[in-house]
């Protein structure tokens, strides 16, 4: 067995084994440390895939496209575990979580990482579906972990909408297999990405089209595209903050990845319809919808959840526009959004802890009472709305300019949506960060290191992207057509 294969196995087996172990360990201190350690080793294994990817087989596939997702997943998974280790202790002190709940939380955290990694690395479309279903069920349980009526409603809504989405995606998956069967024959061959993509040209285009509609609706629900987004704000607002960060930063990306893979199948078939316009339309609707909804938010976590809907819209829109530049920008935007948004959630989680409220109106003058958190929030909001010189600016700029090239009118609509969202977020951020301070002045308990690390990366990416990284992203963008 080669070192690359071992790395791929570690990415899957380690989180699964840790999850089993954490389910048995009663002490939360040990659990938090174990959680962190395991996430760190997973990150190292994921990084090694950048250097050398294993040969694909019937179960795993690591190529230039998904390795970007895997590394991002492992990185945010690790920083969220660092944040979680300090954050969650405070939740225990205030009595929001009990010790058994916490044990459950840690086990589920690793299980979530396992299922997301499995979804990304699976070569089999059926296996990928199973993994995404597992990830959904895991997050449902985690969203409901506080057991308040609000948390249970959020989890219930997420469960119902998520399951319907997942069911539609399974129907689409079955249709893809049906389309592949005449060419690839019966059995597992008709479900492997590596075989499907080569043979896609000969598939029945009508069946493939229908399959994509189901897959787009199904996985699109998981991406959080409007009008299928109803679960997303509740799930973000009511769950523990590390989970909000992982949801926004990672799980939504996993669903985008699934959509992208199936888009490649349709692109490879000359007679199937072009999926781009459908994706661009759904993306644009999400951007505009979320941008206006941002103004009406009173809960800070909910507000940033709507911002995630907006950015998922931007990403799906970029991939829908297609072409090397837009794909490059889409991938970059995805990475930048993951880093920025999860850091914002880390900051917001601590703010909600020290101020004991998530209501925007009740948070004032953060830069006075908690300078680090306050300025982090300011920086995070300025980064996420796309102001230079941060990374999000660069990716959004590339998306807008490549859209101008292909469809100028759409670029106008897109820019309009982005500016509307910018106005809402900056307005609310000013209220929270400045003005006469209110509420507790007690120092924040959780570590600020993950926030600062993410922001440093976002800033660095905006100022200077190392050429090898650019070359890598560009190569992937070309693979995507």
């Amino acid at each position: 067995m080669t070192a690359e294969t071992i790395a791929a196995i570690v990415i899957l087996a380690l989180p699964a084994a840790t999850a089993a172990l954490l389910a048995l360990l009663p002490s939360y201190r040990i659990s938090a440390a174990l959680n962190l350690g395991s996430a760190f080793i997973t990150l190292l294994a994921a990084l090694s895939l950048f250097v050398a990817a294993p040969q694909h087989n019937a179960i795993i596939l690591v190529d230039d496209l998904n390795v970007v997702f895997i590394v991002l997943n492992a990185f945010v998974g690790f920083t969220a575990s660092v944040f979680s280790a300090t954050y969650i202790a405070h939740e225990l002190e205030t009595g929001r979580l009990t010790a058994p709940n916490l044990r459950f939380y840690h086990a589920m955290y690793q299980f979530l990482l396992f299922s997301m990694n499995l979804a990304l690395i699976a070569n089999n479309i059926g296996l990928m579906w199973v993994a995404i279903e597992l990830a959904t069920l895991t997050t449902v349980l985690m969203v409901g972990v506080y057991r308040t009526p609000e948390a249970i409603e959020a989890a219930w809504k997420y469960f119902i909408l998520g399951s319907v989405g997942i069911a539609l995606a399974l129907f689409g998956t079955i249709l893809v297999y049906m389309a592949a069967r005449p060419t690839l024959g019966e059995g597992v061959q008709g479900m492997l990405w590596t075989r499907l993509i080569d043979a896609a040209e000969a598939f029945d285009p009508a069946l493939l089209n229908l399959a994509f509609v189901f897959l787009m609706l199904g996985y699109g629900t998981k991406v959080g595209l409007a009008p299928l987004h109803a679960w997303l704000p509740d799930a973000h607002a009511e769950g523990p903050t590390p989970i909000s960060a992982v949801l926004s930063g990672l799980l939504l990306n996993v669903a985008v990845y699934a959509v992208l893979r199936f888009k490649l199948l349709l692109d490879a078939n000359a007679h199937a319809f072009a999926p781009g316009p459908l994706m661009a339309a759904l993306g644009l609707v999400s951007i505009i919808f979320a941008a206006f909804m941002l103004y009406r938010r009173r809960d800070v976590k909910r507000m940033f959840a709507y911002s995630s809907i907006e950015h998922m819209g931007v990403i799906v829109f970029a991939f829908g526009i297609g072409g090397p530049l837009a794909n490059f920008a889409g991938l970059l935007h995805m990475a930048m959004h993951s880093l920025t948004k999860s850091a914002i959630f880390y900051a917001v989680g601590q703010i909600a802890q020290v101020k004991d409220t998530q209501q925007i109106a009740e948070i004032r003058g953060l830069t006075v009472t908690h300078p680090l958190l306050g300025w982090s929030l300011v920086f995070g909001v300025l980064a996420i709305v796309g102001l230079p010189p941060m990374g999000v600016f660069m990716s959004e700029f590339l998306i807008v300019s490549s859209t101008f090239e292909r469809a100028p009118w759409l670029a106008l609509v897109l820019t309009f949506g982005l500016l509307i969202a910018l106005g809402a977020l900056v307005l609310r951020m000013q209220g929270m960060a400045f003005g006469a301070p209110t509420g507790s002045r007690a120092p924040a308990k959780a570590s600020a290191a993950p926030i600062l690390a993410h922001f440093a990366l976002v800033l660095a990416a905006g100022v200077y992207l190392p050429p090898p990284l650019v070359a890598w992203f560009r190569h992937v963008a070309e693979v995507l057509h």
Partner: protein, 220 residues
């Protein structure tokens, strides 16, 4: 694929759609569960018949899982939950039975039109099974939309899953991994549901999904 083999498969798949309609107009929770159990029995017969026709012995396992879990264990567990929660009253519909049935008919027509036109290359049985499966899936979704009560939403979801299993078995030679996974995830889903029902009832003293709506939006 001809003669008796085709007719039986057709009959069973059509039966699933018919039972989906029966599910739509049930107004008692216990009756709803019984009809769901019946649907699962028909599903397992249909899967077993496919196993026989396609000479695919692994499908018998799927049929057995459908029978054991979906026709016996799940309805029994839900019976117990309902009895313990004391919620065996009428099911409230958001929309009346008449319009619901009409919408259901329209959905079946839609499924038939879409599938029969598209899958012209696939063999006749697979195509018709897919059309029936899509009908069951769509009616299941309709049921989730028109029912207020949490238990009947769950039943709607499970009948939707029945449709998916039908589709998976119609797709000849689809690997067993997936079918077991489907059955397994149904089980997992049930655990989740069970946990949820208990928590919900614990907190709200009702499993009416409307009670959950208090927090919609951001009033506080």
């Amino acid at each position: 694929m001809k003669g008796l083999e085709f007719d039986v498969a057709h009959l069973l798949a059509g039966g699933l759609v018919l039972i989906s309609f029966v599910l739509l107009y049930q107004n008692r929770l216990y009756a709803l569960l019984n009809v769901y159990a019946l649907q699962s029995v028909v599903l397992s017969l249909s899967v077993a018949w496919q196993a026989y026709v396609q000479d695919a012995s692994h499908l018998y396992a799927t049929a057995f899982i459908a029978l054991a879990f979906k026709a016996i264990i799940v309805p029994y567990a839900l019976h117990r939950i309902i009895a313990e929660l004391g919620i065996h009253r009428d099911v409230e519909n958001v929309v009346g039975v008449g319009p619901t049935m009409l919408v259901g008919l329209a959905l079946v027509a839609l499924a038939e039109v879409v599938m029969l036109r598209i899958a012209t290359d696939a063999d006749v049985l697979a195509r018709e099974d897919l059309a029936f499966a899509l009908s069951v899936v769509l009616i299941g979704m309709l049921m989730m939309v028109v029912r207020r009560n949490a238990v009947s939403m769950v039943v709607g979801f499970m009948s939707l899953e029945n449709g998916l299993i039908l589709a998976a078995t119609a797709a000849k030679g689809m690997p067993l991994v997936v079918e077991i996974a489907v059955a397994f995830s149904v089980l997992v889903a049930l655990v989740v549901i069970g946990v949820f029902l208990y928590r919900i009832s614990e907190r709200f003293e009702t499993v009416d999904a409307l009670a959950l709506d208090r927090f919609r939006g951001e009033q506080k």
